[in-house]
Assembly symmetry: C2
Homo-oligomer: 320 residues x 2
């Protein structure tokens, strides 16, 4: 059976049509611009999916279902989304509506849980007797996904794998979640950039200001890393905190899960791939020894397709 | 089928004969006194098991197998023990030898993994649609055990659930594992007591010295908690660090696993049961909101039988 995978991002939604063997047959990108309601995206994605199926000469009956990865808290079975902050969806019946519109089965998955499952089925964790995988994706925030005993761990209410909000430093920096000291407040891309912007505004880092030609909106994690390497005191503080946050997080996840593989992805890693060997070294020296020895620390193999592929593959996983 | 469960502790080994319905039919305690070799315990436990079976009027063929919980790093399938520090066993073929002696199937399990599985099958996590359970047992160290999707998580090499060695404070107190800042270095019973003893030896806590009538070997976690409540500055520091370590650990585990239930046990909890509501409140306010709402934080229901019962139940789990 064929499957459809969606990666519903804050600005764009990726749609993949996937063959029974897991090959991407067609891909489409549409605007998300949901403005607080899921209706526009349901209609537009519905049209696109029907077009993709027709173009491939398929019938709807040949599609096993549609897997949708998106950020937020949701009932993964019914597709009821309680909160998806970056889509500004609150208490929306996404799954039922979308399923009705398409006449297909919908499976919702938290975005980085989907990415972890995608990497497990098709990517860095494919084959080789791998049964346990941890994914850490620092992007705007820090997402995570966990596969144990060959199954995705979604937890009691679908919120397992929220690694960004593990406490890194007691009473530390305020996090967007309202609590203090989360890993995300230090190692998430957006908080890291905002922290740097605040320092630049306070006149504390002339170098960074010069690097972005006076436009602080252009500060990204690479700017911070570059300025830190050039010796800027404040950039160094922000960057070193971020590196420490990601290193400690990954070492702790390896200690508690004893995975075969730790997959790193997301914007912060894509923009700063030199973080991979840094995190690898830290994991090898700071995780529980037996787990440190067993784990492979690698970069995401699927990159931007991980979420949509993994969400689609969850339709099969549910039928096991 | 009947099963045998063993809890191999540093000084004593508990042996349970368990009915097909999970009822404890007979219990026996023998000395472990292994002096670095597993042979004495294999012989003594072998004799005891044969006696228990005979007394219950059973044949060996009616026993499904023997589950053995013990601390340390082991190949759970073959029963090869790489290191069990408190038993002083290094690279011993425990499983094969014991299986040969008894003519029965042996299943080794890390002790707190076994306890988690015991609580899941027979104890605090029994029934009620519970599929996800986390156990945190601060005793001498801090052990942990994880059940996800109804299966025990042993990881790639059987060392999953080593929650005591997650990093709590970067570059913090030296831990027995050789690394710095582990939760165990603050919240484990033995490190906590040793830290207090050192402070008393340095003349820093007259109150604690009086409480143990000058014998610092009598300092235990209750002494520390009591002295802290009475306002002793140093006992307060040690105790508050321990409480913070256990609170942060439990909150983090709830955030990452989104379990239905968090089970607290072990000597530190048994000696200081008032920790349970303290940890519960912290988890409810400091874990990821959706996971905090979903979780029940409870005390171990099986107490001292959890390890042996859980190890025995793993024989069934392997056959699923």
């Amino acid at each position: 059976m064929y499957r459809i995978g969606l990666d519903i991002g804050a600005t764009k939604t990726k749609i993949l049509l996937i063959s029974p063997a897991g090959k991407i047959l067609r891909r489409e990108k549409i605007l998300t611009d949901s403005f607080g309601s899921p209706d526009p995206i349901i209609n537009r994605a519905g049209d696109s999916i029907e077009k993709l199926i027709a173009e491939e000469g398929l019938q709807k009956s040949q599609i096993l279902g549609v897997g949708c990865g998106c950020a937020g808290f949701m009932d993964t079975k019914t597709g009821y989304i309680d909160i998806s902050p970056n889509l500004k969806w609150f208490k929306v019946e996404f799954g039922k509506k979308f399923s009705k519109r398409l006449g297909m089965k919908i499976r919702m998955v938290n975005d980085v849980n989907a990415a972890a499952w995608g990497e497990f089925v098709y990517g860095a964790g494919k084959g080789k007797g791998i049964q346990h995988l941890v994914a850490v994706f620092p992007g705007s925030g820090i997402g995570g996904g966990i596969v144990c005993n060959g199954k995705l761990v979604e937890g009691a209410t679908g919120t397992a794998g929220e690694v960004g909000h593990l406490i890194f430093r007691e009473n530390g920096l305020l996090c967007d979640c309202g609590k203090r000291g989360c890993h995300e407040a230090y190692g998430g891309g957006m908080p890291m950039e905002n922290r740097m912007r605040k320092l630049v505004k306070e006149g504390k880092s002339k170098l960074v200001l010069r690097m972005v030609k006076g436009d602080i909106s252009r500060i990204n994690t690479r700017t911070i890393a570059d300025a830190a390497r050039k010796g800027d005191k404040y950039a160094k503080m922000v960057w070193e905190d971020a590196v420490a946050s990601l290193c400690v997080l990954c070492a702790n996840l390896v200690s508690v899960f004893n995975p075969n593989i730790l997959v790193l992805g997301g914007g912060v890693i894509e923009g700063n791939p030199s973080l991979v060997p840094v995190i690898r070294r830290f994991v090898k020296t700071h995780s529980v020894e037996y787990s440190a020895r067993a784990v492979k620390v690698v970069k995401s193999a699927l990159g931007g397709d991980a979420i949509a592929l993994g969400a689609a593959a969850m339709i099969d996983a549910d039928q096991d």
